[in-house]
């Protein structure tokens, strides 16, 4: 019996090691000086720790990307949550006949090949003159996140107690006031979680960000994509720093919102 226990813990160790080692390697690379990154044989631990890579990442040519990612993330998440709340309220509380069809329609958007919409979106945004602006990327991300927003929020609204709302209706209170004054205050944590997941998806997104931004408005993933084919060790150290900067908020969110990870990544179809 003891042997079985041992094997279980051994396999667990291998599993955890497999999923954590690459992150460890990335952090290590970001702290290595240029010559150590392209050293053969590779150093497991940085021979000397340097912050030059982070300095270049934050203050160099690609530095504004960090700020851009933050702005685009906040902007797109605010708009997404802003328009998803009424929709989720309608589906959860007013329960119209078409609510199932609407939810399934939203889900279908996730299954579209990206370029079927991407090429068209490029021209639409160009026509509105918002290419290379924050609002342009943000709207693209709004489109990507709205289905998740509505599904998540509806999933959060459904189990909230309806008794207060019902007595308010009987007292003649209007539906919109109920939404504002009764549901929203209780739903604050749910709204925050939805907001944070939308932020995360926008923060990590590459394809739509790549063709709606350039130069001054690039987001972090777009900047990192420019490190293609750089054989110089110093450049890779900087790339690793960008990756660490990109991963840190993601890690914090993973810690805080682990309970809802399953819901968010499967559009609320599977509830953890």
């Amino acid at each position: 019996m003891k042997l079985k226990r041992f094997y279980i813990y051994l396999m667990l160790a291998i599993l955890i090691g497999f999923f954590l080692f690459p992150i460890f390697w990335m952090v290590g690379t970001s702290l290595k000086p240029g010559w150590a990154v392209i050293h053969d044989p590779p150093y497991l631990l940085p021979p000397e720790i340097t912050f030059a890579n982070f300095q270049e990442a934050i203050f160099g040519r690609g530095g504004p990307a960090i700020w851009n990612s933050v702005i685009v993330g906040l902007l797109s998440s605010s708009i997404t949550v802003g328009i998803s709340i009424p929709a989720a309220y309608s589906l959860s509380r007013l329960k119209p006949k078409w609510s199932n069809d609407f939810l399934l329609f939203l889900l279908s958007l996730r299954f579209l090949p990206p370029f079927v919409t991407a090429i068209g979106i490029f021209f639409v945004l160009q026509a509105f003159g918002v290419l290379n602006t924050y609002i342009g990327v943000a709207m693209a991300h709004v489109l990507l996140n709205v289905p998740i927003g509505v599904w998540l929020l509806k999933g959060f609204f459904d189990p909230l107690p309806k008794s207060i709302e019902e007595s308010a209706i009987m007292d003649g209170c209007g539906r919109m006031t109920i939404l504002r004054k009764i549901l929203l205050p209780i739903a604050k944590p749910a709204i925050l979680i939805t907001f944070l997941f939308c932020f995360l998806f926008s923060w990590n997104e590459y394809i739509f960000a790549s063709f709606t931004t350039s130069g001054a408005t690039r987001t972090i993933p777009v900047v990192v994509s420019t490190f293609v084919g750089e054989p110089r060790g110093y450049a890779w150290g900087v790339m690793a720093s960008y990756s660490v900067i990109c991963i840190v908020p993601a890690l914090m969110l993973a810690l805080l919102m682990r309970k809802y990870a399953l819901r968010a990544f499967t559009y609320g179809v599977v509830k953890g």
Partner: protein, 290 residues
């Protein structure tokens, strides 16, 4: 205001966004797919060529067919590995283990990383001579393994990228599926003398079936869109060995700017995605009010 009207009014903003940024662009892309238009040669302008793009793609474009083959080979390998490892992990973590919640947190971390960064990580791990994975391969084989310059190894590095990032999701889905199995079934089957394997086969697997379907469908459709990690890891190389369908489509749209042709390539894969979606929708909707 009547409730019926209010319920419709409240979804108007969402509908507007979807109309303007999804439906309309899709129609635009569809129309473009029947034209030849190269944004790099604006003077030639748009020409209507009917199904010309589609026939070229299917019968005249070996690079396109190659990208499809690459997509299926990478996607297929990744899916099998993700399923096996994810299932194994889910079963493993269903045992009595101390600190289970912390382990789950650690395991789901890769899902939260940007796919582009996963590409960067994969590159750093696999690059010849300097990456620790290729270095280990060198030690094992005694020579110098050209990991990212070899078509098959390059594909495998991308399989690694996807497996690393998304096995945790497979794990999560199957793990929550295992939670739905009533404990008493295990106890009673043990009493009846069932072996571990028999319990797995007849109890666990039975309850896991819908979750397995779900996870395969979700991963399948995401793998068809596989592109982000490719940029830094191999940029479609060596040659076009790691060009997936989505990568080639991106090249056509935003690098070569042959938008008509790219639009056709995009719409060509739509029926596949749609069928996967319909199967999934049927699965989750079976009688359930969402």
């Amino acid at each position: 205001m009547k409730e019926k009207n209010l319920s419709k009014l409240l979804i108007v903003p969402v509908l507007l966004v979807i109309l303007a940024l999804a439906i309309f662009p899709m129609i635009l892309t569809l129309v473009l797919s029947f034209c030849s238009w190269n944004l790099r040669t604006p003077r030639i302008g748009i020409n209507f060529i009917g199904l010309g793009n589609y026939s070229t793609l299917l019968f005249g474009d070996t690079r396109f067919i190659g990208s499809l083959i690459n997509t299926f080979s990478i996607a297929g390998s990744a899916l099998i590995l993700e399923f096996l490892i994810g299932l194994g992990a889910a079963l493993l973590l269903s045992k009595k283990i101390r600190g289970k919640t912390y382990l789950v947190i650690l395991l789901i971390i890769p899902m939260f990383v940007s796919p582009m960064m996963v590409g960067a990580i994969t590159k750093l791990l696999f690059i010849e001579r300097w990456g620790i994975f290729s270095h280990s391969l060198n030690l094992l084989t005694g020579g110098t393994v050209l990991t990212l310059s070899d078509p098959i190894l390059a594909k495998l590095s991308l399989v690694f990228a996807d497996v690393w990032q998304w096995t945790p999701l497979v794990f999560l889905i199957l793990f929550s599926g295992i939670q739905t199995v009533p404990r008493t079934l295990y106890e009673s089957s043990s009493i009846e003398g069932a072996s571990d394997w028999q319990q797995f086969r007849y109890v666990t697997l039975h309850f896991l079936k819908p979750f397995i379907f779900l996870v395969i469908l979700f991963r399948l459709v995401d793998l068809l869109k596989f592109i982000d990690p490719i940029w830094i890891t191999t940029y479609g190389g060596p040659g076009t060995a790691t060009e997936t369908y989505a990568f080639y489509n991106y090249m056509l749209s935003f690098v070569h700017f042959r938008v008509g042709y790219a639009a056709a390539a995009a719409w060509l894969i739509l029926p596949v995605c749609l069928s996967i979606y319909l199967i999934l929708a049927k699965l989750i909707f079976r009688g359930r009010r969402l």
